[in-house]
């Protein structure tokens, strides 16, 4: 029982750590590159405009897809690893 508990706690900790990492990337591309850091990226040209504009209109969306699939894949592995899957 104690082992189960420790195992479950470790699983949850790993999940929260993974979520935190993913959310950092999520915030970086949208709130960061596309909005707040756009002036810093202004020097990088992309098709008639700058990288920040591209992130705001397309780049962030593509990154979001990547994040979700990465998370789903990683969590499925964690489920198995900790024996907590269905």
């Amino acid at each position: 029982m104690a082992d189960d508990k420790a195992n479950a706690a470790a699983y949850w900790k790993a999940n929260v750590r993974l979520i935190t990492g993913c959310l950092i990337v999520w915030a970086l591309v949208s709130y960061g590159f596309a909005i707040l850091l756009r002036p810093l990226l202004a020097g990088i040209p992309v098709g008639g405009t700058d990288l920040g504009f591209w992130f705001a209109q397309q780049g962030s969306i593509l990154t979001f897809i990547g994040i979700i699939f990465f998370y789903a894949w990683k969590m499925n592995r964690l489920d198995k690893q900790f024996g907590l899957g269905e």
């Binding site: 699983y11 929260v16 709130y31 596309a34 008639g48 962030s60 969306i61 789903a72 899957g85 269905e86």
Partner: protein, 598 residues
């Protein structure tokens, strides 16, 4: 065949398809009605979620707002996609594990309180009805144009059809019809975009064409667009915004709203396994992105097309824009699409300087007033409603009439699918959470279904009435709904999973704080219950507190919700042990059954 007949044919055929599927998969039991038997594959579910999600706001309205706002309105693109990241990681898998039908079910059980359940029902209804108002606005625009009736009639027709459709479908019907609707709407959105991208840039992929060279002028498309807009006193399309705080909060509001909207969350109850809930969110976003990566291209290209329609000589390699701008289109020679949209009242022309020509420029720009005066202009003469842009797009680009029929079918599919999903969420909150769980547990299945249908009828009447005088363009009204859901439901759901300490009192206080603060801020600027003329302050940037628009306030409401909930919880007792065990159990996929009712 006339355009009217072609439109009817396309809209009619797509309807026959949805109704056919709805009948074929008719809901039998209450469980089927709400969650489609819990057995939907993640890809199918992702596609249905995408259709559910992409409403009139995404399909009809968003590109128009992007076109008029340029970079500043990128918030819609990021906000309505970024929310899926939060949903996939912070809510969907755990709510699936919890295994009940509805959002108030979770909140009521997790916070062991019928008060919490009731507050959740109220939040859900307020957010969903606001959302339906936006759908009615968009559907009204679509119906008025394609059935060649006034905008008001368009809205009533839309209301009638949405009602029929939602009442007889239920979730199971809706899951499969929504797959069909997704296919119709994505084809309808993409085909005109591809044609236009080829016309303007030679690149058949709109999302890439937007960042490539404009064939006629030889300049990058966005550079060309900026140049033309500049000559007319408009801001650069790609111009950065001054108020970054508002932009960040707006994006955040849309994201947390995405994760807090009941009709999207409910989708994740219908997948067989917890792991599938994660994949489903990913697939939903893939299908959504197909439209969202095209939308900014549609927006920029349509804006350029509109400008070069009015100023034909500005289109090519221009030596002096002055000549091009002083030779605008004569009103007599206006193209057919302007004529047809004038009939709906959504395009208006007033010849302010009596020269018989169309002047379209930024009359609000004081620095530009001198130039305008020198050109003999006395005000911008063409008023184009943002919401018509996508629907008028094929006509603006002179595409064949079947493309116009197709986009009519797509726009109507988008509005219908979302409105139906929302009505379902509203009706299940009333019939299941309010009546069955709280008022009369002994109600028969038949009685429950009747209550569900009656509440749908009530919701749609109210939304239609308010949709006749909407608080904004379709996408803006919908954005308000997101703010409300994000400020009230999202924090409660997230704390319910990630904190064992937040108790019933904290959750109720938090939800009420988020909901009431956000509503107060919105109503202050947009009128009490959106009734025009009852606003206490004019809805302009100077009057907003710290420049935060009512559309962005949901994020502030959500933050206050979290703070109040934690403060109240830590001042009161811990939740009982069985609730802490419940929180523990939703965190692990092991042992999830199919979604159950009770």
């Amino acid at each position: 065949m006339s355009q009217f007949a072609i439109n009817l044919l396309f809209v009619g055929a797509s309807f026959a398809l949805y109704i056919g599927i709805a009948i074929w998969a008719r809901a039998g039991s209450t469980k089927d009605f709400y969650v489609a038997g819990g057995g939907v594959h993640p890809v199918t579910n992702g596609m249905a979620t995408a259709a559910d999600w992409m409403s009139a706001a995404s399909f009809i309205s968003m590109a128009g707002l992007l076109a008029s706002g340029g970079y500043a309105n990128s918030t819609f693109l990021m906000g309505w996609t970024g929310g899926y990241v939060i949903l996939a990681m912070l809510l969907a898998p755990y709510l699936r594990k919890f295994g009940k039908f509805t959002v108030p079910d979770f909140i009521g059980d997790r916070f062991y309180s019928n008060t919490a359940r009731l507050v959740a029902v109220i939040c859900l209804i307020v957010a969903s009805i606001t959302y339906v108002i936006g759908q009615m606005t968009g559907a009204g625009v679509a119906f008025s144009r394609f059935l060649e009736v006034s905008n008001t009639w368009g809205i009533w027709i839309a209301a009638f059809i949405v009602f029929l459709y939602a009442v007889f479908g239920g979730m199971k019907g809706i899951t499969y019809t929504q797959v069909a609707q997704y296919i119709v709407l994505i084809i309808a959105y993409t085909i005109p975009a591809v044609f236009i991208a080829i016309q303007l840039t030679g690149n058949p992929i709109p999302g890439l064409g937007m960042f490539s060279t404009h064939s006629e002028s030889g300049l990058p498309l966005l550079v060309k667009l900026n140049e033309v807009l500049n000559e007319l006193g408009f801001r650069d399309y790609t111009a950065d915004v001054d108020n970054k705080l508002n932009m960040v909060l707006f994006t955040l509001s849309l994201m947390v709203g995405t994760a807090g909207l009941p009709h999207v969350i409910i989708r994740f109850f219908t997948v067989p396994k917890v792991a599938d809930a994660r994949w489903s969110a990913g697939w939903a976003l893939v299908f959504i992105a197909l439209l969202y990566l095209t939308a900014p291209a549609v927006a920029s290209m349509a804006r350029l097309n509109l400008m070069t329609t009015v100023y034909p000589e500005a289109a090519g390699q221009v030596e002096s824009y002055e000549d091009a701008m002083t030779d605008p289109l004569a009103y007599e020679d206006r193209p057919g699409w302007i004529r047809t949209w004038e009939e709906t009242g959504l395009i208006t022309y007033t010849d302010k300087n009596d020269d018989g020509r169309i002047q379209l420029y930024n009359e609000g720009n004081e620095d530009f007033a001198e130039t305008a005066e020198a050109r003999g202009w006395e005000g911008s003469e063409l008023n184009v409603n943002n919401d018509i842009l996508v629907l008028a797009n094929p006509e603006i680009a002179n595409l064949p009439s079947w493309v116009i029929g197709l986009i009519a079918a797509g726009g109507i599919a988008a509005a219908l699918s979302t409105a139906a999903g929302l009505l379902l969420a509203i009706s299940s909150a009333i019939s299941h959470d309010l009546i069955k769980t709280m008022i009369n547990p002994k109600i028969t299945e038949k009685g429950e279904m009747l209550a569900a249908r009656l509440s749908m009828a009530g919701a749609i009447l109210l939304a239609t009435y308010l949709g006749l005088n909407p608080p904004g363009f379709a996408a803006q009204t919908v954005a308000l709904a997101f703010g409300i859901a994000g400020a009230s439901l999202f924090p409660a759901l997230m704390m319910g999973i990630f904190s064992k300490r937040v108790n019933n009192k904290g959750a109720v206080a938090g939800m009420l704080t988020g909901l009431l603060l956000t509503l107060l801020y919105i109503f202050t600027y947009l009128g009490w219950f959106f009734i025009p003329g009852t606003n206490m302050l004019p809805n302009t940037a100077e009057n907003w507190i710290m420049g935060v628009s009512p559309l962005s306030f949901g994020a502030v409401g959500a933050i206050c919700n979290f703070i109040v909930a934690f403060a109240v919880s830590s001042a009161t007792e811990e939740p009982p042990q069985e609730i802490q065990d419940l929180v523990e159990s939703v965190r692990y996929p092991k042992g999830a059954g199919i979604a159950t009712g009770h």
